[in-house]
C-alpha cells in the first residue's frame, strides 16, 4: 500500500515536471510533451516483456508456480503499457507525420504492435488452454518465441524503411536534449518504471490469491469426496446398493 502511494506520488511529480518544468519544444510545440510518457511506457512495456520471457524460460526449465505467476502478472501489465505506448504514439504522430501509412508503419511502431499482439496471445492461451500445468507450459512457449520474434520484426522493418528519430539520449557527443528536458525524461522514466513494478507486484498478489483459492477448492472437494457420507460415498453406495 505505501508503495502504491509512492508510485502515484512519483507519477504526480513526473506530471508536474512534464507540464511545468520542461521547456516547450521549438519545432513541435506542446505536443512534444507526450514524448516523456510515450518513451517511458515503451521502456516499461519492453522490460515487462523481458520479464515474461525470463519467467517463461524459468518455468520451462525448473517448473513451479512462482515463475509462471510472475509471467502472468508481467504480461498483463506489459499489455497495458504497450497499448498506452501505441495510443500516445498515434496521438503524437497525427500532427507531426499526418498519419501517412507509408510513414506510420516504421520499425518501432510495427514491433510494438507485434509486441502487443504477442502479449494478447500469451494471455489468450491461458484463457483457452485447460487450466493448470498445461496452460502454463503452452503460454511459456508463446512468451519465449514472441520474445525472439519482436527484435526480428524490428530489424526486418528497419531494413525496409524507418522514420522514428534516431537515438536522442545515447547520441555521440552527449545527449541531444537540453538539461531541463533530460531531467524530466529521467524522473518520468523512474516514476513510470516504479509504477509498473508496483502494478506487477499487485497483480502477482492477485494471481497468488487466485492460485491459493483454486488449491483450497480442489483440496476441499477432494476431502468432501473422501469423507464418509460425502457425495463420493453416496454415489458409490447408490451405484452398488
Amino acid at each position: 500500500m505505501p508503495l502504491a502511494a509512492l508510485a502515484v506520488a512519483g507519477l504526480l511529480i513526473a506530471g508536474a515536471m512534464i507540464f511545468l518544468y520542461a521547456p516547450e519544444d521549438d519545432l513541435q510545440g506542446q505536443v512534444q510533451r507526450i514524448f516523456y510518457i510515450h518513451v517511458s511506457s515503451a521502456v516499461a512495456a519492453f522490460i515487462c516483456f523481458g520479464i515474461v520471457a525470463g519467467a517463461s524460460l524459468l518455468h520451462l526449465w525448473r517448473g513451479g508456480l512462482r515463475a509462471d505467476r510472475l509471467g502472468r502478472a508481467a504480461a498483463l501489465v506489459g499489455l497495458v503499457f504497450t497499448v498506452n505506448t501505441i495510443v500516445l504514439g498515434i496521438i503524437w504522430a497525427k500532427p507531426i507525420w499526418n498519419w501517412d501509412p507509408s510513414q506510420t508503419w516504421d520499425a518501432r511502431f510495427t514491433s510494438t504492435v507485434v509486441l502487443g499482439m504477442v502479449y494478447a496471445g500469451y494471455l489468450m492461451v491461458r484463457k483457452f488452454a485447460p487450466p493448470g500445468p498445461q496452460a502454463m507450459r503452452l503460454a511459456s512457449v508463446v512468451g519465449i518465441i514472441g520474445f525472439i520474434d519482436v527484435p526480428v520484426v524490428y530489424f526486418s522493418v528497419r531494413w525496409w524503411r524507418t522514420l522514428h528519430p534516431g537515438t536522442v539520449l545515447g547520441a555521440a557527443g552527449g545527449p541531444a536534449l537540453p538539461p531541463a528536458m533530460l531531467y524530466t525524461v529521467f524522473i518520468t522514466l523512474i516514476a513510470v518504471l516504479f509504477f509498473a513494478a508496483v502494478l506487477v507486484a499487485i497483480r502477482y498478489r492477485i494471481e497468488w490469491e487466485r492460485d491459493e483459492k483454486a488449491a483450497r477448492a480442489a483440496a476441499a472437494s477432494l476431502e468432501l469426496a473422501q469423507s464418509p457420507g460425502g457425495p463420493g460415498e453416496r454415489t458409490s453406495s447408490l451405484d452398488w446398493g
Binding site: 520451462l60 492461451v125 483457452f128
Partner: protein, 220 residues
C-alpha cells in the same frame, strides 16, 4: 539418423493419408482460386493496377491458406486421438513435430503451385523464378512456426481462434521481407538476392526455435 527416418516416416504418413483421402488439397485449391477471384473484384483490377497490387494479394492469400492448412494438420490427429499414440512410441516429440511440419510445408508448397499460376491467369501478375524462390523460402519458416502453434492450439478450447492470433504476428517478418522481394521482382527492379538470404536466415532461426519448443508443446 534415426531422427530423420522418424520425421520422414511421419511426413510420409501425412502425405499418404492426404493422397488417399484427397480432402485438404482440393479444398485449399478452391479456397485459393476463390480468394484470387474475390481480390480481382474487390480491387477492380486492370493491366496497370494488377501487377502493382498482386504482391499484396499474394501474401494475404498465402497467409490465410497457411492458417487453414496448418490448422488441419493437428486437427485430424486430434479427431482420431492418434497423436497420443504417436507420442507413446519411442519416436520422440521433436521428430514427430518435424515430420508433421515437413508434410504441412509440402502441402502449402503445392498450394503455391496453384496460387501463383492462378494469379498470373486472373490478375496478370508477372511471375519469375525469384518469386517462386521467395515464396518457397518463406514457406519453410512459416510452416515451422505455423505447425508449432497448430500443435499448441489443438490442445486448447478455441483452436480455430487461437491459431491465427498466435501465428500471424510471428509471420510478419516473412511477410515484410518476402513482400519486399516479390514487390521488387514484380515491378522489374534489378535482381537482388539479399532478401532471399535474409529469408534463409529467418528459416534457420525459426526452424531451430520451433524444434526446441516442440518438446514442450507436444509433451502431453
Amino acid at each position: 539418423m534415426r531422427f530423420i527416418s522418424v520425421a520422414l516416416a511421419v511426413a510420409g504418413k501425412d502425405l499418404r493419408s492426404e493422397w488417399r483421402g484427397r480432402e485438404l488439397l482440393p479444398a485449399l485449391a478452391q479456397f485459393i482460386i476463390l480468394a484470387v477471384v474475390i481480390a480481382n473484384f474487390a480491387f477492380d483490377l486492370d493491366l496497370t493496377t494488377g501487377p502493382r497490387l498482386s504482391p499484396g494479394i499474394l501474401w494475404l492469400v498465402l497467409v490465410f491458406a497457411g492458417l487453414v492448412a496448418f490448422g488441419r494438420t493437428f486437427a485430424a490427429e486430434r479427431e482420431q486421438a492418434s497423436l497420443e499414440a504417436m507420442l507413446l512410441t519411442p519416436a520422440g516429440p521433436t521428430a514427430v513435430f518435424a515430420g508433421k511440419a515437413l508434410a504441412a510445408a509440402a502441402l502449402l508448397a503445392v498450394c503455391e503451385l496453384v496460387l501463383l499460376p492462378a494469379m498470373a491467369v486472373f490478375l496478370g501478375s508477372p511471375l519469375s523464378p525469384l518469386v517462386f524462390a521467395t515464396v518457397l523460402l518463406a514457406t519453410v519458416g512459416m510452416a515451422a512456426l505455423g505447425c508449432l502453434f497448430a500443435a499448441l492450439a489443438a490442445q486448447t478450447r478455441a483452436r480455430e481462434l487461437l491459431l491465427p492470433v498466435l501465428a500471424m504476428p510471428l509471420w510478419i517478418p516473412f511477410v515484410v521481407v518476402g513482400g519486399r522481394a516479390v514487390q521488387a521482382s514484380m515491378t522489374g527492379a534489378p535482381l537482388n538476392l539479399q532478401p532471399l538470404a535474409v529469408l534463409l536466415d529467418f528459416d534457420v532461426l525459426f526452424v531451430v526455435v520451433a524444434s526446441l519448443a516442440a518438446r514442450f508443446v507436444l509433451d502431453e
